[in-house]
């Protein structure tokens, strides 16, 4: 059973997949909207960054689990 925590840490990297899809979606939708109505785009920049940060946090939780599996288990 030795070393299985490294496998778990590798599996935790799958969180990156979800975060990548989510962050990609956010920026794609923002650009989509900004191209249709460029004059309304600057006011939504704050919302863009907020959505990006909240989505990215879920990927980072995966990173935290990987760190715990390697260093703390």
């Amino acid at each position: 059973m030795e070393g299985l925590n490294y496998v778990g840490a590798g599996l935790a990297c799958l969180a990156m997949l979800g975060a990548a899809i989510g962050v990609g979606n956010i920026f794609a939708s923002y650009l989509d909207g900004a191209m249709r109505n460029p004059s309304a785009a600057p006011q939504q920049f704050g919302n863009l960054i907020f959505g990006f940060a909240v989505t990215e946090a879920l990927g980072i939780f995966g990173f935290a689990i990987a760190l715990i599996l390697i260093f703390a288990v």
């Binding site: 960054i49 990006f52 940060a53 909240v54 946090a57 939780f61 990173f63």
Partner: protein
């Protein structure tokens, strides 16, 4: 050669001055040194920029004004009028994180924000402040943020626990985001840089040349990206502080 290729070596905290008070180890470390440098830089710059103030600002003064009005703009956009007393707090948080991130970009300098002890404390302080301000402004009505209005009672049984969990995970995500971004970026930089000595060891002089030509542009690109991340994470931290403060200051939703 071993030190140069170990990506985690840059995060080691080393004691510069041994201090022991009442059994507690409060030694002055390289982490503390770079925090002090960062704070002194911010205070020094702002004191210098505002020493000769004019109605028509000179170059240094307008830089300080852009800096301040950028943060004041975020607070005004998110919190409106009730957020005004919190502009200095958000400004201090942003400036400290931004300067710490930027100092960390110098090779062989220490990145204070790449330690969860630092970022976690700032996150817990922020959420603690939200709770204290919320209780002071609204009393027990502050806990209405866990019970959204206009939701049927049956759904509340599910929504309220979710709201409580999401509130409790805020300090974790706020601290982890900054820490993980800075740590991840610096490790990636060091790993890419480590390709050059590995290639040189494997292929000799040819490897050194290949490493220089292929890896170096990559490192330059990633470093540029890291500068963007340094600014963006400070901005995100400041903005999330405002958004969380809105729970304490704004109308119930």
């Amino acid at each position: 050669m071993r030190i140069a290729t170990d990506p985690m070596h840059q995060f080691q905290v080393s004691k510069l001055l041994d201090l022991n008070v009442g059994g507690y180890d409060i030694s002055f470390t390289n982490s503390a040194l770079f925090m002090v440098i960062g704070v002194l830089l911010v205070i020094g710059f702002l004191a210098f920029a505002t020493s000769k103030m004019g109605t028509v600002p000179n170059r240094v003064q307008s830089l300080a004004e852009i800096w301040y009005s950028f943060i004041a703009g975020i607070v005004k956009d998110v919190n409106h009028a009730p957020g005004k007393p919190f502009i200095p707090l958000v400004f201090s948080l942003f400036s400290f994180i931004f300067i710490a991130n930027m100092l960390g970009m110098f090779p062989y300098w220490f990145t204070t924000t790449s330690h969860i002890a630092v970022t976690g404390f700032m996150a817990i302080f922020t959420i603690g402040l939200v709770i204290v301000v919320g209780l002071m402004k609204k009393g027990l009505g502050f806990f209405k943020i866990f019970v959204p209005s206009g939701v049927p009672f049956v759904l509340l049984l599910i929504v309220t626990p979710i709201e409580i969990i999401s509130f409790l995970s805020r300090p974790i995500s706020l601290g982890m985001r900054l820490f993980a971004n800075m740590l991840g970026g610096h490790v990636a930089l060091k790993v890419f840089a480590g390709f050059i000595p590995s290639l040189a060891l494997a292929l000799g002089g040819l490897g050194m040349l290949m490493g220089g030509l292929l890896v170096m542009p990559l490192i330059v690109g990633v470093t540029a990206l890291e500068f963007l991340v340094s600014f963006l994470q400070a901005y995100v931290f400041a903005m999330l502080t405002c958004v969380y403060l809105n729970d304490a200051l704004g109308e119930a939703h």
